[in-house]
């Protein structure tokens, strides 16, 4: 685990994967209710009726249908040709969008560690289910670390790539997600792992998330001191690590109360956004183990999105 002082910006990442971490992640399974058509054959149930094993419906035969799908028993009874439809299994593209802005690199341990570990855990699950995974780190803009790819063997290279991530600048969620939308990726699941401390406030986060046409899972990287900054005492000049904005604050119980109220409003707004988008929201404590917290997403080993 990286050890930095509270105000020091870390510039390297520790080993994100361990054997225990991988084994724990393998027990998770990400399951989509339905995925978009035209995907690869995989474990996810598709809207497409295809050549799976599980019977789903009949429909009249049309030109070009596979003759093998014709149900001759129905033909004998009704004198009309119907084909049997089976459920098509396709993949669920997973788009991991980890925040690597500067705010995630200060404090100890830095939030970026938990964020990337969570991303890797989710990637491990998806790759294990033959889903494709893409990684798009962002700060003031989106970058492509890994285009959507699949196969369990990709996990190691993905981890190696994540290990090379460097600290970014300010957080601009709108610009970053706009860039993601411009990539015209096949509809999938977008997992945004961030502290969501955008300079534009909650409004910027809402605007950015609503613009995403994929399914969304929000992972809020937080720590207890975000709401209760006990280490801040006395007369302080608080400097924003990203924008360098300075606020002179004389810490008093009243100020702390107002701060907590503001933080609570932000958290509730984020939860309301997730509800309105029918997205998941996980508040991930960056000071605790990541896998157990990720596991809460997968009740009974499954998670439907």
């Amino acid at each position: 685990m990286i050890q930095t002082s509270d105000t020091e910006v870390a510039d390297t990442l520790p080993d994100l994967f361990t054997t225990e971490f991988m084994e724990a992640a393998q027990r998770l399974r990400l399951v989509a209710k339905r995925v978009a058509p035209r995907g690869r054959f995989a474990d996810q149930r598709s809207k497409t009726k295809g050549s799976g094993l599980e019977f789903q419906d009949y429909r009249p035969y049309t030109h070009g249908d596979d003759m093998r799908a014709i149900d001759w028993t129905v033909y004998q009874r009704l004198g009309r040709v119907f084909v049997r439809l089976f459920e098509e299994h396709e993949d669920l593209p997973l788009y991991l969008v980890p925040d690597v802005s500067k705010s995630l690199w200060i404090e100890s341990p830095p939030r970026v560690v938990a964020g990337l570990q969570a991303a890797l855990a989710l990637a491990a699950v998806s790759l294990g289910a033959h889903d494709s995974v893409g990684v798009f780190p962002f700060a003031d803009d989106l970058s492509v670390l890994q285009r959507p790819t699949s196969g369990k063997g990709r996990l190691t290279s993905l981890a190696a790539r994540m290990q090379t991530i460097q600290p970014g600048g300010t957080t601009d969620l709108r610009q970053s997600l706009r860039r993601l939308g411009g990539m015209r990726l096949r509809e999938g699941l977008v997992v945004i792992l961030s502290d969501f401390f955008d300079e534009g406030g909650l409004e910027a986060v809402e605007e950015a998330v609503r613009s995403v046409r994929h399914k969304v899972l929000l992972v809020q990287l937080m720590r207890p001191s975000d709401r209760e900054p006990k280490a801040l005492i006395g007369d302080l000049r608080l400097v924003d690590c990203e924008t360098r904005d300075a606020q002179d604050v004389s810490i008093s119980p009243a100020v702390i109360q107002r701060y907590q109220a503001a933080y609570d409003r932000f958290s509730e707004g984020l939860a309301a956004l997730a509800r309105s988008r029918q997205a998941g929201l996980l508040a991930l404590d960056v000071e605790a183990d990541v896998v157990p917290q990720i596991a809460t997403l997968f009740e009974n080993g499954r998670r439907e999105v």
Binding site: V239, D240, D248, S252, I256, R258
Partner: protein, 573 residues
């Protein structure tokens, strides 16, 4: 510190803290992940001004409390006396204070009395062998114990009266305040001394109790004198012992560790024993060696109440033969008179070789032997004063003349008669110059039998002999020290009082009579007294304001602790 000063200090402290409280806070810079929520939390946007509105009144009160307590602990609360008195405490450290723990009790009583006196106008003097200032006005009382750590009664008569007179004299010059003198100890203050005090001053005595000193036997006098035999290198010693059974007392007298034969033992009364030891010589005398120590002890009085006067000692001076070179002056009468005077003194050897001479007498010494201390003869035309004295590295000419008057025997000269014979005034003066040795120059007219009778007077050989001794640096013989009299430091002193008030006058004052042992109980006239019992307990710590200060500082400590806790919890800025 007075109440007004204390109040002013507190008000000043409060004002300073108030101004500091209003100064714009200098914030400690701290990097955070975001300032989004702090912006909303800030109660106001502060302008960048020098002063802020008064905030944190609780913090101010806590700081004012801490500062005020510290101020009180430093200032000490003093009882304000509106009478404008100065207080002079005279702590007696004379021999009688060595009885039992009398000195310790006096110190305790003094410390207690000081609590009532304003520090800014209180002075404490230690009156022992010399008078020392223990506390000057404004000094902390806590220093008293520290400065008295090594103080002990000395084997000397009480110097309270002398200190009182000198102190009153000095203070009279310094200001017009009325003074209250407080005697702490046994030293008496006679009516004559009381009468010398300025109007409005008075003397009090601090009661420290009294002890009976029954059956004390002690040495009351010890002295040396030139040997009656006339030998220049020998001394006679005089010892007096007083007390019950003194006539049969066992007296141990040692010179350089060897017993000394008592030449004369006389009991003038059952309580007074006088001893004389004659022709004492140190083994090295005459060879320029070291001096020896003459010690007197009363072995049989070891258990009496005052051990201080059971032992006395004195150092025998190194009496060397002085070799004088008589240099012709060109006037046979002068040369003859000087040579005769030198040869009449057994301590002076007239030598023909300048290389062996210690001093030159008459004319100028030959240059090849280097500068010699000299007694020169000069004409009145060449010399302003009849007698001129020079001593190198002396800047105070008056002090030099006052000192050498007796040492040169000039006080024995009938100056009025000589002036009358010469028809002109005689004066004593000093010269300055770059010479490296002492010199004395006299008018040649003084040696002319046709003009005056100086060479025929009894003082002439005395002046020549004393001058030769002074020129050669021969030690003085302090002839006599005794209880009831100040210890002389010189043969004679023409001044009745010097500019330094605590200087011990060599001339007995009128107030003290020789051998007045009853006025001072027993006091050994000692060159070096044996130490008193070293088991005296030191109270340490102190009382009154010292304890108050401790409490104040303890409260300050608690207040600082409270402030730290509140600060840590973010309750105060």
């Amino acid at each position: 510190m007075s109440g007004n000063m204390l109040l002013l200090g507190l008000l000043g402290l409060g004002a300073i803290l108030f101004v500091l409280q209003r100064l714009r806070v200098r914030h400690r810079s701290r990097l955070v992940v975001t300032t989004l929520f702090w912006r909303e939390a800030l109660e106001e946007s502060r302008a960048r001004t020098l002063f802020e509105r008064f905030r944190h009144p609780l913090t101010y009160l806590l700081l004012a409390l801490i500062g005020g307590l510290l101020w009180l602990s430093v200032a000490r609360i003093e009882g304000e006396r509106s009478d404008g008195l100065s207080h002079v405490f005279l702590l007696d450290a004379s021999a009688t204070m060595g009885v039992g723990d009398r000195f310790d009790r006096a110190v305790d009583a003094l410390a207690e009395a000081l609590e009532e006196a304003p520090r800014e106008r209180t002075e404490v003097l230690l009156c022992g062998e010399t008078v020392e200032a223990l506390l000057v006005p404004g000094e902390d009382r806590a220093l008293l114990r520290e400065r008295l750590r090594d103080a002990k009664p000395a084997g000397v008569p009480a110097s309270i009266e002398r200190a009182l007179v000198s102190s009153a004299r000095v203070m009279r010059r310094e200001g017009s305040e009325r003074r209250r003198f407080v005697v702490v100890g046994d030293g008496s203050v006679g009516e004559a001394a009381g009468a010398m005090l300025p109007e409005g001053d008075w003397v009090e005595r601090l009661d420290i109790g009294a002890e009976e000193v029954p059956g004390n036997l002690g040495i009351t006098a010890l002295g040396l004198a030139p040997a009656k035999s006339g030998d220049f290198d020998a001394l006679d010693a005089f010892i007096e012992v007083r007390g019950p059974g003194a006539s049969s007392a066992d007296v141990s007298i040692l010179l350089g560790g060897s017993p000394v034969l008592v030449s004369k033992r006389r009991a003038t009364s059952p309580g007074v024993l006088q001893l004389v030891c004659r022709d004492l010589r140190t083994p090295s005398q005459g060879a320029g060696g070291s001096v020896s120590r003459l010690t007197v002890a009363l072995p049989g009085a070891a258990d009496d109440a005052l051990p201080l006067d059971n032992y006395a000692e004195v150092l025998l001076p190194d009496l060397r033969l002085i070799r004088a070179l008589v240099v012709p002056t060109g006037d046979p009468a002068v040369d003859s008179a000087l040579r005769a005077a030198c040869m009449a003194d057994s301590a002076i050897e007239v030598v023909a070789s300048a290389a062996r001479a210690d001093v030159a007498v008459g004319g100028a010494a030959p240059e090849q032997v280097g500068p010699l201390p000299s007694l020169r003869v000069s004409t009145s035309a060449d010399q302003e004063h009849a007698i001129e004295v020079f001593e190198p590295a002396v800047t105070d000419a008056d002090a030099l003349l006052a000192r050498v008057l007796g040492e040169l025997g000039l006080d024995r000269v009938d100056g009025a008669r000589l002036a009358s014979e010469l028809g002109r005034p005689l004066s004593l003066g000093s010269t300055s110059g770059g010479a490296s040795v002492r010199s004395v120059s006299l008018w040649s007219e003084l040696f002319d039998p046709a003009l005056c009778s100086f060479t025929e007077s009894r003082s002439f050989p005395l002046v020549v002999g004393r001058t030769a001794r002074w020129l050669a640096g021969a030690p003085e013989i302090v002839p006599y020290v005794a209880s009831g009299r100040p210890r002389p430091s010189r043969l004679a002193d023409s001044s009745n009082g010097t500019s330094f008030p605590w200087d011990v006058s060599a001339v007995p004052t009128q107030a003290s009579s020789p051998l007045d042992v009853e006025s001072t109980v027993r006091a050994g006239a000692l060159a070096q007294a044996i130490p008193l019992d070293s088991g005296r307990a030191s109270n340490g710590g102190g009382s009154g304001p010292w304890r108050l200060t401790t409490w104040l500082l303890a409260i300050v400590l608690v207040a600082l602790l409270v402030e730290w806790v509140l600060y840590q919890r973010g309750r105060i800025a």
